[in-house]
């Protein structure tokens, strides 16, 4: 598997650390309801198809990446910096 880091270019997946779904980016407010925190921490989809998740270029530029990929075809359709993400 290869990921195209926006800063370093295309690299082998061994350079990256996998974290999990992009849900981690949508942190609830400090006073949000318990159920909302529970969903943020624990509830995840397991899609057959397009998914967005978080990868860390640990052996590279230390940037967190938001990767859009397809779990069925393994196609990677987008990689952006978490720090400069659009949405």
């Amino acid at each position: 598997m290869r990921l195209r880091c926006p800063l370093c270019g295309e690299r082998d997946r061994r350079e990256f650390y996998y974290y999990g779904a992009e849900d981690y980016l949508h942190r609830p407010a400090a006073d949000a309801a318990l159920a909302e925190w529970d969903a943020y921490l624990h509830l995840r989809d397991n899609p057959a198809g397009v998914t967005r998740d978080l990868w860390y270029h640990e052996a590279g530029c230390s940037q967190w990446l938001l990767v859009t990929r397809n779990t069925v075809t393994h196609e990677i359709s987008g990689v952006e910096l978490v720090a400069e993400r659009k949405a």
Binding site: R2, Y19, Y24, A30, W37, D38, L54, H74, L81
Partner: protein, 970 residues
């Protein structure tokens, strides 16, 4: 026997080798198989289940029978294919899977028992009595199972792994692959051409013929010379592309030194990961056997293999050869044998309308229905219409047509397509993105077809790369149609083999269908069809044709089993190259490493770091004696310890304090410059991530310390929090762990020792930090303590670490002090109730360790909201306590109320750290106990079933030593 004037072997370079203890001679360029056949050794192995005598079936890596052990000075490799292993001077080999000698294998009794050993016999036979399984059946089956044997020793040979990158990867160097490589190479693309064998050329080496109006061998030499001269083309011989993976990544195994005598630093194998923008699969096709009764005797071989041994190795397998084949193409081997002076006794062609005029008898419409010869073929029985007759022969060449080598196209879940005309599966286009199958691998069976499709695929690839395709005229070549009548099995008396390696016959497949295993995947698992080292390369298609017939379905409906990587076996040693023993993980050494070893300190692993365990003195016989002395030394005088392994993160920017407030539970933005504060860090789920101190070095400048274990984890966490939640804040940070060497100086005499190094007088308050000069070098002095004594940490740039350590220790010794190791460091911190990752192991909260007051109410921080969830705080939680005992106790033990039953439900908690405290003269522990903070003074029962420990302890505050902290602040 060797045929004069034939073959590409180097007859000027004879080679001696051994097989089963006997000496043989071959030539450079021979494989073990060709050299043994040249010496008339036909029996080379025993089959897996029935221990039938077996000979060489093929001339390539798909060989199911000729598997041998290669014995090297430092390794013994089982299941080596004799058809791939090249001979070299001193090569030592041995046949395998036999009890006794190869000629008289005692396990051949299985062959007489065959009516009882059909498909599924394990499942049916070893059911009862149940008690027999472990003691009798399993050991017996394990003894009989497997093929070759291992030496039982470590493989100390050298292996490598490597990455390569290219525009176009060409897999296979027959006419199709050569044409593709030449086209892409001339266009200037970066090309890698991989060839599995030990010479380029593919079937050109076996079949000869003409290409471009010249002998094919001459064309091959010309193309190779041009490819070798092109700087943008890399030629990789003895390299099998074993797998296709995501995004243009291919696995490949190179046999680097397996064809040479072992010598130091000569790699045996190299596992390549090749990243290619485009790939051309030109792997050719594999000829398939025909399942006729007793088709497995030594001397029965694939027609294409007979042709390879004749033309490439100059060997004939017999003096009276017969051919049983259903294509026109296969006739060539008979003609070439006759031209070389070998008698061809007969050609048997099952096609009723086949061409019948050759220089030998041709039995059109005939079939082979039986064979003779115990250890090697002596004759065959032929049926033609109503008549049967015998033919004397010592070599039967057979062919049932060809299967395209499409395995790589299935590695990413692609399924092949059935082609009725070829009676074979062909690759599905686009099954592996970026890979195009050409030539015979794609069902283009003629040389012309190979050249055309190889050229076209390369043109397509170079154009996609934005390059201009070269003006390359296509050389003329043979373009005969490939016409066959599918022939999978011949009915007759006796067993007809499909999978030679795993002893699966047509009867087994029919039995599977009869017993309900009608799906091809079920049949495979029930019969073990295709599960041998050749992974069904020779037999899968025929087996599913037999299954299709037995179930009354067509082949396309029956489908195929899944081809998975690797295409050929890959040794674990090659995939894990460099990872054995010390290579398993990187080693990190302190600047004081040599100085510690000089003092005889045994080193202990802490993550990747190596730290001194203790510093033994003459007369000390156990680690405990040294440890106890070092603890007393720190408590009474002064000790020096290297603490550089702690993670150090330099944090700067206008928002640095704000950032620390967000990642720590407590507040750092209010910390005065020149002061240090202990901080607690949570995960977002409310559990403790790490702890450590952070110092404020300037208005916008902090230095964070992490534990040794969590240094990488914390860095990753900080990067995430920053980039995900506050990327616009003015803060940047970097790990400086390796930039500073840092030494703890602790004890009543610590201040005097530290001061002796400083140019200025420093009067630091507890939890203070100041820049200092040490012997003219800029350093930092922290007044912090992990021991409970007055303590300092002195940091200097790493390159001065060793000098400072040696000097610190030398001066400490003049004051009654010295160095202390990890063991003493651990005792000191337990006595003081300081936690490490033994306590903050990922399942504890700030509340559990009594630090809930450190979670600031005035601000948000990572983990704060989740830490307040029900269940993460309160009396039900196991809370940090100290335990005191007068007998040895152990970490990992569990706690129970004295007098209560001991079982899971009555468990009250567990012990995380334990030591003998020379300071208090007692055994101490840190433990987690339900509602522990309210139970100080209680007696608790500590039970460790593993070590047989059962001790009553007193529950107390975790801070045993100097609870008021007077020594710290002295």
């Amino acid at each position: 026997m060797r045929i004069d004037g034939k073959g590409l072997i180097d007859r000027t370079k004879p080679v001696r080798f051994r097989f089963d203890g006997k000496d043989y001679a071959g030539y450079k360029g021979d494989t073990l198989a060709s050299a043994l056949l040249a010496n008339d050794v036909r029996l080379v192995g025993r089959s897996f289940k029935y221990h039938r005598p077996r000979g060489v079936l093929t001339a390539g890596s798909e060989e199911p029978n000729a598997l041998v052990e290669v014995i090297g000075p430092k390794n013994q490799t089982p299941n080596v294919r004799a058809t791939v292993q090249e001979v070299f001077e001193g090569l030592e080999t041995r046949s395998q899977n036999r009890l006794g000698s190869l000629r008289f294998d005692l396990l051949a009794v299985n062959d007489l028992l065959w009516p009882f050993l059909g498909a599924g016999f394990y499942y049916k036979t070893f059911m009862w009595p149940r008690a027999f399984w472990e003691g009798l059946y399993e050991p017996l089956i394990r003894r009989a199972a497997g093929l070759g044997s291992l030496s039982g020793r470590h493989d100390e040979g050298t292996y490598e792994k490597a990455f390569a990158f290219c525009d176009v990867l060409v897999i296979g160097s027959g006419p199709a692959g050569l044409m593709a490589a030449l086209t892409a190479g001339r266009a200037g693309a970066d090309v890698i051409l991989c060839e599995e064998s030990h010479a380029f050329g593919g079937r050109i080496l076996s079949d000869g013929g003409t290409i471009g109006g010249m002998p094919a061998g001459e064309w091959l030499a010309q193309v190779l010379a041009e490819l070798e001269a092109l700087p943008n083309v890399r030629l990789m011989l003895r390299t099998t592309v074993t797998g296709a993976y995501d995004h243009g990544t291919y696995g490949a195994l190179e046999r680097v030194g397996l064809h040479k005598p072992a010598r130091p630093n000569l790699s045996r194998e190299c596992f390549w990961r090749i990243v290619a923008k485009h790939a051309v699969l030109a792997a050719g096709a594999l000829e398939r056997p025909v399942a006729f009764p007793d088709n497995d005797r030594p001397g029965i071989m694939l027609a294409s293999a007979v042709r390879t041994y004749l033309n490439r190795y100059g060997v004939s397998l017999g003096k009276r050869v017969t051919l049983f084949a259903n294509t026109d193409q296969a006739r060539a081997v008979a003609r070439e044998l006759m031209a070389a002076g070998v008698t061809v006794a007969a050609i048997i062609d099952p096609r009723p309308d086949a061409f019948s005029v050759e220089d030998c008898p041709v039995h059109v419409g005939g079939e082979v229905i039986g064979t003779r010869g115990r250890l090697g073929l002596t004759g065959i029985t032929v049926r033609k219409g109503a008549e049967t007759f015998e033919i004397e022969t010592d070599c039967l060449a057979m062919s049932g047509g060809w299967n395209p080598t499409l395995h790589l196209t299935c590695h990413m879940n692609g399924r092949p397509r059935w082609d009725e005309d070829l009676a074979a599966f062909v690759p599905m286009e686009g099954a592996v993105p970026g890979l195009v199958a050409v030539g015979a691998a794609n069902g283009s069976m003629s040389t012309h077809g190979a050249l055309v499709t190889g050229h076209a695929a390369a043109v397509q690839a170079v154009q996609a790369l934005g390059r201009k395709a070269p003006d390359l005229p296509l050389p003329e070549a043979e373009d005969r149609p490939y016409v066959l009548k599918a022939l999978w099995a011949v009915e007759g008396k006796g067993r007809a083999w499909l999978d030679f390696a795993n002893d699966v016959t047509t009867k087994d497949v029919k039995l599977a269908a009869q017993e309900g295993f009608r799906s091809v995947e079920h049949m495979k698992r029930y019969t073990t069809q295709g599960m041998a080292p050749d992974q069904g390369k020779n037999s899968n298609v025929a087996a599913l044709a037999v299954l299709a017939d037995a179930t009354g379905r067509g082949i396309p409906e029956t489908g195929t089993t899944t081809f998975r990587p690797p295409y050929t076996p890959v040794s674990i040693a090659a995939m894990g190259a460099g990872g054995r023993a010390e290579g398993f993980a990187p080693q990190r050494f302190l600047t004081s490493d040599q100085a510690s070893r000089d003092r005889g300190a045994p080193m202990i692993e802490a993550g990747l770091w190596y730290r001194p365990s203790y510093f033994p003195k003459p007369g000390e016989t156990t680690w405990r004696e040294a440890c106890d002395r070092e603890v007393r030394m720190v408590r009474e005088a002064v000790g020096v310890a290297d603490v550089s392994t702690l993670g150090k993160i330099d944090i700067q920017g206008k928002d640095a304090g704000r950032f620390l407030d967000f990642v720590y539970t407590n507040t750092f933005s209010t910390l005065p410059v020149g002061r240090v504060r202990y901080g607690l860090m949570l995960r977002e789920d409310g559990h403790v991530l790490d702890d450590g101190t952070s110092a404020r070095l300037g208005e916008d400048h902090y230095l964070m310390t992490t534990t040794t274990a969590a240094a990488g984890l914390v860095m990753r966490h900080l990067d995430f929090v920053h980039q995900a939640f506050c990327a616009d804040w003015q803060v940047r940070f970097i790990s400086v762990t390796e930039s500073w060497a840092q030494f703890a100086v602790a004890g009543p005499k610590a201040r005097a020792l530290v001061q002796s190094f400083l140019e200025e007088t420093v009067d630091l308050p507890f939890m203070g930090v100041a820049p200092v000069r040490v012997g003219g070098v800029k350093g930092r002095l922290f007044r912090i303590s992990f021991s409970g004594e007055e303590g300092y940490e002195l940091a200097v740039p790493t390159r001065y670490g060793e000098a400072l350590f040696r000097d610190l220790v030398a001066r400490a010794e003049t004051m009654g002090g010295g160095p202390y190791g990890m063991e003493a460091l651990n005792v000191l911190r337990i006595e003081k109730g300081f936690i490490t990752h033994a306590e903050i192991h990922g399942r504890v909260t700030a509340h559990d360790i009594g630090m809930e007051k450190m979670v600031s109410a005035k601000k948000d921080c990572i983990g704060k909201a989740a830490a307040q969830r029900p269940g993460l705080w309160g009396p039900e939680r196991e809370q940090l306590v100290g335990l005191k005992a007068s007998a040895p106790i152990s970490a990992g033990a569990h706690l129970f109320v004295p007098g209560m039953e001991i079982h899971r439900e009555t468990d009250q908690g567990y012990v995380t750290s334990v030591c003998w405290s020379p300071t208090l003269g007692a055994w101490l522990a840190l433990a987690f106990l339900k509602d522990g903070r309210n139970r100080h003074g209680e007696k608790i029962r500590l039970v460790d079933h593993l070590r047989g420990i059962d001790v009553i302890c007193e529950v107390c505050d975790p801070v045993f030593h100097d609870p008021a902290g007077e020594k710290l602040r002295a």
